[in-house]
């Protein structure tokens, strides 16, 4: 290679780029984040199809209309689907294996993404009932991270029919 180029090949150059942004959450997500700071989970209901979205983004993605009706949903819910992660993550400080799940909160129509702890990972299953574990009250803030994870509660599994349309 260096013979044809007449000099050693250049294998890399550095052109660092950094851009800073000021994120605008929007009206609906603003309310949701404010709820997180109070230890509450706030969603919004579609006036057309009545579905409740958590977290809300201000629109019903199916109907394309504004969701203005505010709804508080429970911190308890049902695992609709899950996976067991066995590869280490560069960004999560959790050693594998660990479980990721879609949790359909009671009163919501959109499953919420969460990690499952306080439970042997090989016992995680569809239909399992779980609850949100919050950070200590003093640490509650306007962030998704106010919910640390979900853990099982002592309730019978939800029947498949109750969550099958939310898979």
């Amino acid at each position: 290679m260096s013979d044809t180029l007449g000099s050693p090949p250049i294998t890399s150059i550095g052109t660092p780029i950094r851009l800073d942004y000021t994120y605008t959450a929007g009206a609906a997500t603003q309310k949701f984040l404010a709820g997180m700071a109070e230890g509450r989970i706030l969603g919004q209901r579609c006036p057309s199809c009545s579905k409740v979205y958590v977290p809300p983004r201000g629109a019903c993605p199916k109907c394309g209309v504004a969701t203005t009706d505010e709804v508080e949903v429970a911190g308890t819910g049902t695992i609709t689907t899950f996976c067991i992660v066995r590869i280490p993550s560069d960004v999560l400080s959790v050693p594998p294996p660990f479980a990721c799940a879609h949790v359909l909160l009671d009163g919501a129509d959109l499953p919420f993404f969460g990690l499952i702890y306080d439970c042997p990972f090989d016992q995680v299953r569809m239909g399992m009932r779980v609850e949100a574990v919050w950070v200590p009250k003093a640490e509650l803030a306007a962030t998704f991270e106010s919910i640390r994870y979900f853990r099982p509660i002592d309730e019978p599994d939800a029947a498949y029919e109750t969550y099958k349309e939310h898979l």
Binding site: T15, Y21, T24, A66
Partner: protein
């Protein structure tokens, strides 16, 4: 060629910083308005097409989350360009030409306020040799302005007159952001930002969105407004490297204008996407527009310049004004890239 008409247009107000809503919340009322006012039903829309830029939001796939505003259920036929919405309209027009759709909803959105816009625009430059030097958008426009003034014999006073005319005309456009101007002579008293450009030579930084509805065949009969027919549309691009272009002229606009048929008839009005004052003069020359043409009755991009939106808005504005009886034949132009790198020209007519 199938006859395709603009049968709807809606736009948000352009504002310096939209803090109350996210992109979806900004778009939703505009998408509903354009369909509601058109006379067509939501079910009549056979193709949905958008233009936006994820770098503006600093969020990958921001355009996919914007689909929440459309209501994509049952699943819809959709596409997106990482460009101004005018190019989304072009793709929709091609789709209709193929016969695969008889109508299309085209929308564009841009919240430029979330980042440092002149710096964000640097990212569109050559990543190895130009972008690392961080030449911002205003400095590049100033290079072009200097080249144009020297080549044309025009003066900074001519530029100030472009600024004053556009912003005073914008007084009649409630959606515009800057709707007044000092006299050209007074404008020249202000300091340079990047010589030879002063503040009035530059566009405002704007957040906003707009939407256009196209229809062909029987669906046009459902339109409430007088349809504005697309008689010609073409777009051309010049080289990426600024050094190989003649910045004082816009060869791509000239060619696109010829291909779209600008010269085939009298032009009553033109909406030119000229974010900087000197660019309007370059575009007028490239399109051969004389003094009799009503240029930028909306106030143009000097009065409101939401990125990725302002080009589509030119088509919507020109069509809406023709439909309302402000003329029989009009031109809409959109640009993209630094220093008018890429240009689209659309010829519109009402019967």
């Amino acid at each position: 060629m199938r006859d395709v008409a603009v049968v709807g247009f809606a736009q948000s107000a352009s504002v310096r910083r939209e803090t109350s809503g996210n992109e979806v919340e900004m778009l939703m009322p505009i998408l509903q308005e354009v369909v509601r006012e058109s006379g067509l039903a939501k079910q009549d829309i056979q193709f949905t097409m958008s233009g936006s830029c994820d770098y503006l939001a600093g969020q990958p796939f921001a355009f996919v989350s914007a689909l929440d505003a459309v209501g994509a259920w049952p699943p819809i036929v959709e596409s997106h360009v990482e460009m101004d919405g005018a190019w989304a309209l072009y793709e929709a027009w091609v789709k209709i030409q193929t016969g695969e759709a008889d109508s299309a909803l085209i929308y564009a959105f841009g919240k430029s306020s979330m980042g440092d816009l002149p710096e964000v625009l640097t990212i569109q430059l050559d990543p190895y040799y130009t972008a690392p030097l961080w030449p911002d958008a205003i400095s590049l426009a100033a290079l072009q302005a200097r080249a144009y003034l020297e080549a044309s014999g025009k003066t900074e006073r001519d530029l100030a007159e472009v600024a004053a005319r556009n912003r005073r005309t914008a007084a009649g456009n409630p959606k515009a952001q800057i709707r007044k101007s000092a006299d050209p002579a007074a404008l020249l008293d202000s300091p340079y930002i990047v010589s030879p450009l002063r503040k009035h030579d530059c566009p405002p930084i704007s957040d906003g969105c707009s939407a256009v509805l196209l229809a062909a065949g029987d669906l046009v009969k459902k339109a409430r407004r007088k349809p504005a027919w697309i008689r010609g549309i073409d777009h051309r691009i010049e080289a990426h490297s600024l050094g190989v272009r003649d910045l004082a002229r816009s060869v791509s606009t000239k060619l696109a204008g010829e291909r779209a048929g600008v010269g085939k008839g009298r032009v009553d009005l033109a909406e030119l996407h000229a974010p900087f004052t000197h660019q309007e003069l370059i575009l007028r020359e490239a399109l051969g527009l004389g003094d009799s043409v009503n240029v930028n009755p909306s106030g143009g991009a000097l009065a409101a310049n939401p990125m990725m939106v302002a080009g589509l808005t030119r088509i919507g504005e020109a069509a809406t004004r023709l439909s309302a009886g402000e003329g029989k034949r009009g031109i809409a132009h959109a640009t993209s890239g630094p220093c008018l790198q890429q240009n689209l020209v659309c010829v519109l007519e009402v019967e």
